[in-house]
Symmetry: D2
């Protein structure tokens, strides 16, 4: 059976996707892109890193840009309910012989690091320092008015195996999925959530593990259209990769852009609530054209092929990648 | 200490506000209002009741309109994670000597009824029959495009006591609150959530228990503005009570309207995510003018005074009400 | 010099583009498309024709759909200030030996027919019967809420020659234009106005004369996005040809769709005012990618090649067409 | 007969309302309000004046803020088609014994000054220096994204007499009007246009002549809502006087704000086209509640009573005012 729901009921509660740290080659170029163009708020610049958050976020940061030799993903974290839950999660990882290690960073004292069965490094934490929200500082709204980190989307060479880990061991709920159209359909992509909307983590068939994109939630269609107008007239025309459009999957209104280092960012609006315990995941066939874009537009080749590599937590080298086991 | 957070960690998980059944005097007038004007979807008309849902909802109904001699609230339900949790909740209510009774309705076999310490009848259930969603049936979008039931707001004569019950016994999380501006501030209103946005249930100081309003979440400011245009030109001008405007509390863009029986409906958009376990509730002083409307508009007198009475579950008579203990 | 401005000051005043009559093969299919999907208002169905108007229009019709053996353009009319002006225009056409003939139709007693120097049949009239506007009948808003006919866009084999006629003889003002990028640039497309926005008539290099599209002005970006959602989920996915997007030229937010007979309709929003007598036309190079779409999206091949043929006024046969003199 | 239409056909063509010069007491406060909050573009600061324009405007300025001892209106100008027309208008004014004088200012060599029969100083000009438009400089969009000056609205003590002058002598077209509800209705307010939308000049019954407000056209409802959010959270809460709302008259979505000197500014969106020569003005009764606000909201007392006084062109003293002849 390719999918399982509801997810395994875990002893620990993963709350939501929490932060991502991106390696970027030129901090000033990145600052211009993320702050002046997209409209994120800068919390702090310190030791070669810029800490950013969305307009409604009260956590210290959801995105960290760190000066780096190459474009890469340095860390990707999920928030857990409390320290006790973090310990339960730690024990659970140890029991299944997955790598686990506690570290600290960004003033967060206890960050649990692991590597998922496909080689993707992920982290868990419970809390970070709080700052004031900008939600009602309307005078500082810019760009597409990004409110909050919404989700991560990653390439994996084995969607079924990834799904089984995140659903079976970590308790992520499947909300929508794509299967191949063969007689014995194989999972091709999954959207999985913890915070109650369509996803905190999506996994897509491809060379991986790699980050496909991170997404910010924006309040309105008009904000995303405005970003198209801004990017296309401020020197960022070539950074617009796909959209604007409406996904069949998730029903979200989207725009995909590339940052100065090629990291892909989705600006995302208007999905739906998924907290119902009797929620039944929505199935899409791989060749349903409206799955990707309700309006029929094709995604460019780059969108299927390009992604950001992860840095191996222990070696600090690029994480090895594998070819997908399901043919595209 | 007037507020407590985080909420008590309960053994059972209340998922969200789920349904409300309103007594209405003329089903056809109500149908016109809820379906043609607001844009809700009719699931079924049966035995003197019309069952309605929002565009994204897959549950059988979130609002039931039942032919009645007088305008009243017949039932108000919250969804619970599963049948085991419902039993745990049942045990918990019995242990604190609160009324509890299992009944069935709408094809839901096991509905747990109770009455909160201030006399407000509430119900709990785990699941109802599923129907197709209209989220991607864009041709059927009308009115303000109401997506889903968002919350209930009720008058209570003792906000502190109500808060203590919903936080301490049922595990609702406080997100925002209003206090009097005295040296020993008293709780005047609370916004409490289970599903991860600003509220599933708000409680306001006033003659109660009474329903102040129920709210539907709408996708965009423009949808709510369109409803103003529609109502004011289709004979519903006098049913527009307050707004459109922006609440300081919750940051929501709102419009309050009255249905043909006087039940108050809020059309609600653009609040924020509250799932963080380290979320700190936001405090507002009672005389902060921007608390109610960020733009400074005053609410009309009716908004503070009028509400819908509940029907006593056991007697089928109107529920007794008490004067608020905090002076307005 | 390829362009001339200001336009010739004529003795007569052409006010705006006024109506278009399209030959369609199945009235019911067309009705569904124009009324249920796009949201136009039906004034009348009579003698095999459906008369349509936009939400703010008080004229009897701006579009007529007439049952026909083949898809074609039957008439295309411009409004003139008064009967005296119509006579002056008549005299002017006679003086330049252009075909001119008075006829009546749709209850309009005096319609002046002519054929432009490239063979495109056009008509002029001063007034038609008035009906009530739907601008404040918000309950009848549907689809993309089309407000009014905005412009016609036509293929011509010789843009320079067409431009010279409409500017020099009819007094149309050039607002924007595309030139080839050669040393001796040739006019490739022109946008010309009478009513004070970007255009009443655009002329594009191509096999012609043919109608490229007619356009309706819509109030908001969100209305056009909604039409995308509606068309893609009501069986009209394949009728969406291009967009949504932002034109560099005119700055308009656009969507191009095809009606059941292949006639192309643009839904158009947010251009600008052009009434200034010292207005200087805006030049675009043919290979400027942002000219067509500010966001860089390419138009499909069909958009450059397909159009609706005109019916020759005197023979009732399809109007002969010529290849464009400027290479594409 | 209280109204006359169509307007007198004049030998000269007044194109549109063109500029207004406001006396302000603190240039820096005004700059902050008009540029940082509203979002106008600064063309130049020179000799104690700041020259402003809207995002689509290519004229040097539409608003001039000039350091002044008191809050007042220094000049108010309308654009005329060409110098010959200006001379014809001059002759026309002389023939009716109205004050007329040529002056120059802002680099405009030939400005024709007059005073209307009710004592309101107005000016006429044909052209000013051109600057680049910001329409496609989306990175500079701020505030409510004001596109262009839309109209002036002025108090007059005798609406009928003012109307007769602007319609009969200057050729302004009446589009909508308010009459008293008596048996012999008297004109109470008129909306008159030259550029083809609802108005370039509105005249309202009241102590006058005074400026009631000037208006900027904004592209979308969402832009005006955003301005509400910005003003209410940046220290300008008390400058929000009325709205947001929908006018019955003109159908415009509006917000009225007061600048730091009390000058009233309307942010205005979504009216309609009025170029049809057979356009019939729309009548409203004075006591029709939806005339002012379609949604039924009352305007505050200040809105009916307060306005900016004009400076007498010849004496440089405040222009004398008279009580309205029609009772309010």
């Amino acid at each position: 059976m390719p999918i399982c729901y509801p997810a395994n009921k875990t002893a620990f509660n993963i709350v939501r996707c929490g932060y991502i740290e991106l390696g970027v080659r030129d901090l000033q170029k990145s600052r211009n892109f993320y702050i002046d163009i997209l409209g994120l708020i800068e919390t702090q610049e310190k030791d070669g890193s810029i800490y950013l958050r969305g307009l409604e976020e009260r956590c210290h940061h959801s995105v960290v840009l760190t000066k780096s030799e190459s474009s890469c993903v340095l860390r990707m974290g999920f928030q857990v309910e409390n320290e006790h839950h973090l310990s339960l999660l730690h024990a659970d990882l140890q029991q299944t012989n997955l790598y686990s290690n506690f570290t600290s960073a960004y003033g967060v004292e206890r960050i649990l690091q692991t590597v998922d069965p496909l080689g993707m490094p992920i982290e868990f934490y419970t809390s970070m320092s709080q700052v004031s929200r900008s939600l009602q500082k309307y005078g500082s709204y810019k760009g597409c008015r990004p409110m909050r980190l919404d989700h991560f989307n990653c390439f994996t060479p084995d969607v079924q195996k990834s799904h089984d880990f995140y659903s079976g061991q970590l308790g992520f709920h499947l909300t929508e999925y794509t299967e191949t159209d063969s007689e014995n359909p194989e999972l091709w992509a999954v959207w999985m959530q913890r915070k109650g909307n369509v996803h905190d983590l999506a996994l897509t068939n491809g060379v991986g593990p790699r980050l496909h994109h991170l997404a910010f939630w924006c309040p309105a269609v008009t904000d995303i259209i405005h970003l198209c107008d801004v990017m296309s007239t401020t020197g960022y025309l070539k950074n617009m990769e796909r959209g604007p459009g409406r996904h069949g999957i998730s029903n979200a209104f989207f725009l995909y852009v590339r940052d100065p280092d090629g990291h892909r960012i989705e600006l995302y609006s208007s999905d739906y609530l998924t907290v119902d315990p009797d929620f039944v995941p929505i199935r899409w066939g791989l060749h349903d054209a409206q799955r990707q874009t309700l309006w029929g537009h094709a995604a460019p080749k780059s969108w299927f092929e390009e992604g950001s590599h992860f840095i191996n937590t222990t070696t600090s080298e690029p994480q090895l990648q594998a070819q997908p086991i399901v043919a595209n």
